[in-house]
């Protein structure tokens, strides 16, 4: 047993070295050819397929599965990428159980949908491993567009703009491109540097230049971009983190779940990454689950995910909740943080109020409980880190219309930073792509 397994406080190396690789390997191992053929035979090739309608990027799923089944995975990949150039990452991180696979008629028929995500991964992996490029840029338009943020929305937008012959410069605040694909996804969902490989695959179309370490509002302004480019797309995500608004939340040991996830993804040696012996994660979404599960996988003895409402209201999908439970995370509902208990400068526990719905309003009761812990992760939502720099906001996000247009006629926005759609990778891809089409229509005067 690793020496630090039961060490109090926040400590690295809780596991035997071999366990790290095991714990952080691919969550869903990819299909081999036989598995893909067997699974593809299950697809009914539905008319006006419900899966396709459930996909935010409207991938022609029955067609690509039929292409797999007939020994044409390259054709399948082309079908996928024509709608979603980040189809490889979406195959890994999409909550398919809430999207295409929930809509699959075999879910209704047998409770066992076709494994669309894994089939999509099979086809896209084949194409990306061989660097098969399916798209050729149109003749240069002479237009130049600035894309802010090299996450899913920005990359999808840039690819589609490049396809139309426009030149694209992407500004990204981090040291590596990819956005949440690189920094915000649990490690076991995207292994072997896939996010960077995907950026290379997307930008291989040409005409896309990425400048890293350039942050909006710090290194340049939106007004300056709008002046010097033909159009601007904002795909800046949500860089801020909501506060607990609980006493003691500034204490060392209280961390942002998104930072923990990013640190974990970037770590070259997971045994050097410290984690609490007892961890409490506050929140009910995917980020909360990712942080909780990965705390457990790093060797935390007890991990409790605390959510202020009930199971049904959690943003994390049923699959994610089950995954957390299977990994040994305890999920507790109807509890909200009241006070982080700090002794001798370190976290020793968290006091939580029991919550209830009173006339439809969530309210704290007088009853409280304490969970002993040495680390608290905040995962109660992210906020726009920018004030919009002049474009109108709505509900804390950049206000956009159906095409992604903001209040500034030269500025479009999409992904998590913009209104409309769920905060999902696949939604960001759809919005980036559609904004690119809107920008293109404007630029060529359609």
């Amino acid at each position: 047993m690793a020496e630090a397994r039961l060490q109090e406080g926040i400590a690295p190396a809780r596991l035997d070295p071999a366990d790290y690789a095991k714990n952080f390997s691919d969550l869903h191992p990819p299909f081999d050819r036989h598995e893909a053929l067997v699974e593809s035979d299950r697809c009914y090739f539905c008319y006006d397929a419900p899966c396709m309608n459930a996909c935010p990027t409207s991938i022609d799923i029955p067609l690509f599965i039929r292409e797999i089944s007939t020994g044409n995975p390259e054709g399948a990949a082309a079908t996928i990428f024509s709608q979603n150039i980040l189809g490889g990452m979406c195959a890994r991180v999409c909550p398919t159980e809430q999207l295409c696979e929930e809509a699959c008629v075999r879910e209704e028929a047998e409770g066992k949908p076709v494994k669309i995500g894994l089939l999509q991964r099979y086809a896209t992996d084949i194409a990306m491993d061989r660097n098969l490029q399916f798209f050729t840029r149109r003749e240069s338009s002479g237009k130049h567009i600035a894309v802010v943020g090299a996450g899913p929305a920005g990359l999808a937008c840039a690819h589609r703009l490049a396809l139309h012959g426009h030149r694209v410069t992407i500004y990204d605040g981090r040291s590596k491109p990819g956005g949440l694909n690189e920094y915000g996804i649990a490690s076991y969902k995207s292994v072997d540097g896939f996010a960077q490989a995907e950026v290379d695959y997307v930008t291989a179309i040409g005409g896309i230049n990425i400048e890293q370490g350039k942050l909006l509002g710090q290194d340049f302004s939106l007004a300056a971009l709008a002046d010097s480019y033909d159009a601007v797309f904002l795909g800046i995500g949500l860089g801020g983190v909501n506060a607990l608004r609980a006493e003691g939340e500034d204490a060392p040991g209280v961390d942002n779940a998104v930072d923990f996830i990013a640190e974990l993804r970037q770590a070259t040696d997971l045994s050097k990454l410290p984690v609490g012996r007892r961890v409490v994660v506050i929140g009910g979404g995917m980020t909360a689950v990712d942080a909780a599960v990965q705390s457990k996988l790093l060797g935390a003895e007890e991990v409790t995910l605390v959510y202020r409402r009930g199971k049904a209201q959690m943003n994390a999908s049923e699959f994610e909740q089950d995954l957390a439970a299977a990994k040994g995370v305890t999920i507790r509902h109807w509890l909200a943080p009241k006070r982080v208990i700090v002794q001798f400068g370190t976290v020793t526990g968290i006091e939580l109020s029991y919550m209830q719905l009173r006339d439809g309003t969530l309210t704290a009761t007088d009853a409280t409980t304490v969970i002993a812990c040495d680390q608290v992760f905040k995962a109660i939502g992210q906020t726009l880190a920018s004030d919009g720099e002049g474009v109108e906001l709505a509900g804390g996000k950049i206000a956009v219309d159906r095409e992604g247009r903001t209040s500034n006629p030269k500025v479009w926005a999409g992904g998590d930073c913009a209104t409309g759609g769920d905060d999902l990778t696949v939604t960001a891809v759809a919005e980036g792509r559609d904004a690119a089409e809107s920008i293109n229509r404007m630029l060529i005067g359609l």
């Binding site: 053929l37 067997v38 035979d41 299950r42 009914y44 090739f45 539905c46 008319y47 006006d48 397929a49 419900p50 008629v105 075999r106 209704e108 028929a109």
Partner: protein, 440 residues
């Protein structure tokens, strides 16, 4: 408990499931295993004349087509008759028959189309105490190039001649196996009957190329880059076999001639269908070659349970019951009207019925109701074609409902009158007759 014992041209077997003359019946080892598994009889793989045996190719002998999940639907082969010594086969046949006296042992024979050849082999086979012989006039590949197999089966006069020799030089029951590679199956069946055959068996395999290798452009199965048409069998050929069996069963010239049904029998249900269409028993090959001999257990139990559920005590109770219902198109009742019905509780909303009807048929299935995905038949467009039933992936979800007498066919506005009427007297028929001809 139903009695599934079978008597075919006087040959008794504990059930109507025989293994056809083919690789599974080439030697004692396989046949012993088959009898242990429960098969009612075998037709030993075709024997040739005395002398050096034929040789087979040393590369692939089989090609195939598959359905979903790589279920084998059709198999073809270019294997010839037995490539083992005649006397070795005869010795084994005799021993196996001795070991399994209650099972049917039929010996398939193919020798050149000369009287002396047949005269020579028949006593040798008879000496094994086998129950009967089957004349292989069907094998479509290889042997046919040497004037045997299908080359005989395609010339009714030859069939009649050889059958006559066999009846003349042997006391054994003669089953004449027919090739389907012919325009009208009734002609060789009639010839066999005229020659005095005790029964016919069909179908033998169908000329086929299962696929083309798109790398080498060789047909499959490929022998050093080339292929030859092989004999096609398996579930895919069942409908062809059923039709040919029924043609012989209802032909006045061959009516009552015993038929051993062959062609894609895979389950008890297939077997029951052959028996209902006039076969006295069935022969199985591809299903055993796909799944092994154990499938006979399912066939025995399935047939027996179905017979119990229908009150059939013996095979004779339902034998040939479907023959009278096979007729010519011109006698089909044009006043019979059916409409498709979709069971909304079973419907999984795949929409395949809709798109099949919309793109390729009669635009009779709606795809939406009250703004929701919903598939329902529109009776005013439905011609009752059954395509939606056939493409639906859920068993029994779409069924055909017969309109009762007095109901209005919303498509034509006509009332169902319940009277039989066929094409022979239809006003649109330029050769119509005054008085309606009933189906036979």
């Amino acid at each position: 408990m139903a009695d599934i014992r079978n008597t075919f041209v006087g040959i008794k077997s504990p059930n109507p499931f025989w293994l056809a003359s083919a690789p599974p019946t080439d030697k004692a080892y396989n046949v012993e295993r088959a009898f242990k598994a429960g098969w009612g009889g075998v037709v030993w793989k075709t024997l040739g004349e005395e002398g050096p045996p034929v040789v087979n190719v040393n590369g692939p002998r089989y090609g195939a087509i598959w359905g979903a999940d790589r279920r084998l639907l059709g198999l073809n082969n270019i294997e010839l008759i037995t490539d083992r010594d005649l006397y070795k086969n005869l010795t084994e046949i005799k021993q196996v028959k001795k070991n399994w006296p209650d099972r049917a042992m039929i010996v398939s024979i193919m020798v050149p189309c000369e009287e002396e050849s047949w005269k020579a082999i028949l006593p040798l086979v008879e000496a094994t105490e086998a129950d009967g012989i089957e004349l292989n006039f069907g094998c479509p590949h290889g042997m046919s190039e040497r004037g045997m197999g299908a080359a005989v089966g395609q010339v009714p006069e030859y069939i009649e001649m050889v059958v006559r020799w066999c009846k003349q030089y042997s006391r054994m029951p003669v089953i004449t196996k027919l090739t389907p590679n012919i325009a009208d199956i009734r002609k060789p069946a009639r010839a066999a009957k005229h020659g005095g055959t005790d029964a016919v068996s069909l179908i033998n395999t169908i000329n086929s190329i299962t696929s083309v290798n798109l790398d080498t452009f060789s047909p499959e199965p490929s022998i050093d880059g080339r292929g030859s048409h092989g004999g096609y069998c398996g579930p895919a050929v069942k409908p062809i076999a059923l039709s040919m069996v029924s043609e012989i069963a209802r032909d006045p010239d061959t009516y009552g001639l015993p038929i051993s049904g062959i062609g894609g029998v895979t389950t008890w249900r297939d077997a029951a269908e052959f028996l209902a269409l006039g076969a006295g028993n069935v022969q199985v090959c591809t299903a055993a070659m796909t799944y092994g001999f154990k499938i006979v257990e399912e066939m025995i139990s399935g047939l027996s349970n179905w017979m119990d559920s229908k009150g059939h005590r013996t095979l004779d109770d339902f034998a040939g019951r479907a023959v009278r219902n096979v007729t010519d198109w011109q006698y089909l009742n044009l006043n019979y009207i059916s409409k498709a019905r979709i069971d909304q509780d079973l419907c999984i909303k795949c929409g395949r019925c809709h798109i099949a009807c919309e793109d390729t048929s009669h635009q009779a299935i709606m795809k939406e109701k009250d703004g929701r995905r919903h598939f329902e038949v529109m009776d005013d467009e439905c011609v009752g074609c059954n395509l939606c039933v056939n493409v639906c992936p859920v068993d029994d979800c779409i069924t055909m409902e017969t309109l009762p007498v007095g109901a209005i066919d919303e498509r034509t506005g006509r009332i169902v009158n319940g009277q039989y009427a066929n094409w022979t007297t239809h006003p649109n028929n330029p050769a119509r007759k005054e008085v309606i001809e009933p189906a036979e």
